[in-house]
Symmetry: C2
Subunit: 195 residues, 2 copies
DNA sequence: GTCTATAGTCGGATAGAC
DNA sequence: GTCTATCCGACTATAGAC
């Protein structure tokens, strides 16, 4: 008696669908949603033409799935640094020193310039969720350091904005040192730098 | 004897060309370069079909002209705030308090996510020039406040990054208050806020 | 569920009259 | 220098066999 039950009866894991989402995530990170064609997604995923439209009614539906996942993965990664053990200043320092591909930019932040994403509320939603969650994580850390809730919140926005703006500067200048400098500046301003 | 000499013999001012550049600047600010079609530029400028390709060999050449002007105008505006009279702290405070359309984003910064712009070095150049000039302006102000050159430079990157990242946050959250909070945070961190 | 083939639309660019 | 008319190719999506 062979156990033919795969993983879950209601929500089975589909390989083609999965490959499509992964390929879309990669291409969106490289080019954005607007500039990524269904054809490119099919080529990278190795899936045939009509299969995309079997799993997703339209390009937008694929984008929604891929963006949700990217936002979720990015937030999970930030959480692993900001909400784990260690002192609050140590966790913030670790977050600001985390390895980043400056010239690639923020997978989520870059989407705020994508016309397709910004035109559709259901595509914007993952962006809002990501940054709300990220700012909240940083706010808690700053609050633990003794700031008032209002001050912690303002400065959390500043910290997250510095990271995002650092990406923008690095890409505009073609120099990853721009992000490094911006982050070093905010570390000293927050009193996190060693003498 | 009518003076038929217009403005300059070598570089005359062409009305159609001018209208094309203006329309392109507007549309790039709203949608980006990649998402803006020649047709849209023609419609907004009120110029006829073939005239675009009379003045500009390709879409890229129009983009280069428009981006250069936008970068130049943006830098001039920043200079008028950061390099004018008043105390150094007053000028920096004025720059950070300048009116901004947070939900529209930075006309220059948003281009760092545009595939067409990033793929062409001649289109990226205006971005690099703008941010180099802007960071230099802020660096001078901070240097006047007594910071070492290295510290002033790092913090200048942080200030400019906060503005750029503030735009990203405001757009992602659909709330212009995000930029305000990020800027208030950096003002307090820089000791520019009144008690 | 996956594929090949193809339809419809629009973007980028050109030709050539005025 | 400016316009109208038009070509070519690519992108989004569908049809229908296996």
């Amino acid at each position: 008696m062979t156990t033919t039950v795969p993983d879950a009866p209601t929500e089975t894991t589909r390989p083609a669908r999965e490959r499509l989402v992964r390929a879309a995530q990669e291409l969106y990170g490289e080019q954005g949603v607007d500039a990524t064609t269904p054809r490119e997604v099919l080529e990278r995923s190795g899936v045939g033409q009509g299969s995309l439209y079997h799993h997703f009614p339209s390009k937008t539906d694929l984008a929604r799935t891929a963006l949700r996942r990217t936002a979720q993965e990015s937030l999970d990664e930030a959480r692993s640094t900001l909400a784990n053990g260690g002192s609050s200043s140590g966790r913030l320092r670790a977050y600001l020193a985390a390895p980043r591909d400056a010239l690639a930019g923020s997978a989520v932040g870059r989407m705020t310039s994508d016309p397709v994403v910004m035109a559709d509320p259901s595509l914007r939603e993952p962006l809002a969720e990501y940054f709300t969650g990220l700012v909240d994580l940083v706010t808690v850390v700053l609050w633990e350091q003794g700031y008032t809730e209002a001050q912690a919140h303002d400065r959390a926005f500043t910290v997250v904005a510095t990271v995002q703006g650092g990406y923008v500067l690095a890409r505009a200048l073609g120099d990853d040192a721009a992000l490094e400098r911006a982050l070093r500046g905010v570390r000293t301003l927050c009193g996190l730098e060693e003498a």
